[in-house]
């Protein structure tokens, strides 16, 4: 039973990261019906920028805590600028194009960003600096680290903040209205371009945080790391019901837990034929099952339209 609870904890940590990335997919999809497949690359850029900035600041003699703070801020700002530019350069000109066109562009942007990152940071795995103390806790037979606690707490706080923004502010109301009917929202005086840009910028800030969490957790980074993470977060968004924010949060956590439990038990289930390095198959089995049986996801958009 210990392994069960242990894997739930591990899954919760990984799932919090998926949730943050999934929110970026789902916000953009909710407002403009586009799957921004370059979103995983934004996460990767976030991680790599943090490595560079923290490294530089530490080399310059700054204390680790301060350098970490600088790295986080720089990474978030760079990603926000990147998200804004992506929308401006790659997607806005295609606003009225057939749906397939921006989708292909998104895949193209993903390739461009990966290659750009490879040119800047090289092909080798980079070590992510350790920013947090390596503390260890034990509770009822399960083990967890300080880093894991921080990841879950920061994710939860960020998501709470996002919900406040979307449900309690003017910008949030404009975002929800635009998602439901962009033409009428613009009649109300909402600048649709700004709302769409805001969705990209906010999603990218979450991606940067997720990227730093991944780096801190696995202590390693690479220019291709965004690809698989992006696909899994996309799966999480679909699982929760793409376009639905609460769905992306739940979908992320659920996917993390499914994956962790799958990895924990796959050896026993297949009599040792498949090991835990096959854990990636679970995400995609989930994706296929959801698309086959409930394509609208757990919180599939209820239209609520009667008349």
């Amino acid at each position: 039973m210990d392994i069960f609870f242990q894997q739930i904890i591990n899954g919760l940590v990984q799932g919090s990261i998926y949730a943050l990335v999934a929110l970026g997919y789902t916000m953009v999809y909710g407002i403009m019906g586009l799957i921004n497949f370059a979103h995983g690359e934004v996460v990767m850029i976030g991680t790599l920028v943090a490595i560079t900035v923290v490294g530089t600041l530490v080399d310059a003699g700054m204390p680790v805590a301060l350098a970490g703070l600088g790295g986080v801020s720089a990474s978030v700002l760079v990603c926000m600028a990147l998200g804004w530019s992506l929308e401006r350069v790659a997607y806005r000109p295609l606003r009225h194009a057939p749906r397939l066109t921006p989708l292909i562009t998104a895949i193209g942007m993903s390739i461009v960003l990966q290659n750009l990152a490879m040119m800047i940071w090289g092909r080798n795995y980079l070590t992510f600096p350790s920013l947090l103390p390596r503390l260890h806790f034990e509770l009822g037979g399960t083990h967890f680290t300080f880093i894991q606690v921080v990841i879950v707490v920061v994710s939860a706080a960020t998501m709470g903040g996002l919900l406040l923004l979307v449900y309690r502010t003017r910008l949030g109301m404009a975002m929800r209205a635009t998602a439901q009917n962009p033409a009428v929202a613009s009649l109300m005086g909402v600048n649709i371009n700004r709302v769409i840009a805001a969705a990209f910028v906010i999603g990218s800030a979450l991606a940067a945080l997720a990227g730093i969490m991944v780096g801190t957790y696995y202590e390693i980074a690479h220019y291709q790391m965004g690809f698989m993470l992006g696909l899994k977060a996309f799966t999480a968004a679909v699982l929760g019901g793409i376009g639905n924010m609460a769905g992306a949060m739940l979908g992320g956590v659920l996917l993390g837990i499914i994956e962790a439990l799958g990895a924990g038990y796959i050896g026993d289930l297949t009599g040792g034929f498949l090991g835990s390095h096959y854990q990636d198959i679970f995400a995609f089995v989930v994706l296929i099952v959801v698309l086959m049986f409930k394509p609208s996801g757990l919180f599939g958009e209820k239209t609520g339209d009667r008349a």
Binding site: R170, M173, A174, R176, A177, Q180, N181, A183, V184, A185, S186, L187, M188, G189, V190, N191, I192, K302, T303, G304, D305, R306, A307
Partner: protein, 234 residues
């Protein structure tokens, strides 16, 4: 107050509105009537900048508004109640009304106007926290009109407010439209229900295949034999 000159709207190769010219004076209610596909909705959409006109000019209070960004139209003082109502289905009734006041920053007066809308439409007060998508068609129309009023516009554009509604609901909606017009609101009313539109307005224009076929005082149009034959079913 509103001057439309040579307005021309086309979708792809289809000419929806062919160079029409008309005007609405301050405080006046003007009806734009015509059959399905005559170009009434296209005209309103072009004025509100939801659609790009191919040619022609629109001036409002002396300012040229035919090239401004769509989200600036309400800031100029024009509110469109769109065809099919266009309420935000997953926002509450109250939030829909707040969206109507999106461009305003006078929170105290917005609250006052909310009360005014609730006085016009007591039904909306009862449903204040309900999602707009769960309202009946008539209630959604009330909400769409209330939402437009929340922007404190100088002019209302109403697109087919009677569409798809039960006669009793049409009565209620038009009572409010007349009451609002009586406060001095300049109104441009597009309707397929020609009789109702002409009865609720001072002047009218008849659109046929994208061009103005007739215009005049609403009372005269109501007596016009051509109008009676073509639009009043007599």
């Amino acid at each position: 107050m509103l001057e439309v000159t040579g307005l021309h709207v086309a979708y792809g190769g289809i000419q929806a509105v062919r160079s029409i010219t008309f005007h609405v004076r301050e405080g006046e209610t003007v009806a734009l009537i015509g059959a399905n596909g005559a170009g009434k909705t296209s005209t309103l959409k072009a004025i509100a900048r939801v659609l790009d006109a191919v040619g022609g000019d629109v001036h409002f209070c002396g300012d040229k508004i035919s090239r401004i960004a769509p989200h600036q139209v309400i800031r100029k003082g024009i509110a469109l109640v769109p065809e099919g109502r266009g309420v935000f289905p997953r926002l509450s009734v109250r939030e829909n009304l707040q969206m109507g006041a999106f461009v305003r920053h006078d929170a105290v007066d917005v609250e006052k106007d909310l009360k005014m809308v609730f006085e016009y439409f007591p039904r909306l007060r009862e449903r204040e926290s309900q999602l707009a998508g769960t309202l009946s068609g008539g209630e959604q129309q009330m909400l769409a009109i209330g939402r437009a009023l929340m922007g404190r516009p100088k002019m209302l554009l109403l697109d087919e407010p009677s569409m798809g509604l039960a006669p009793i609901m049409v009565q209620k909606i038009f009572e409010v439209i007349r009451a609002v017009a009586a406060t001095g609101m300049t109104t441009l009313l597009v309707e397929q229900n020609a009789r109702l539109a002409l009865q609720s307005s001072q002047r009218g224009y008849v659109l046929e295949s994208g061009a103005i076929a007739l215009n005049g005082d609403s009372a005269e149009l109501l007596d016009d034999p051509k109008v009676r034959a073509a639009y009043l079913g007599e």
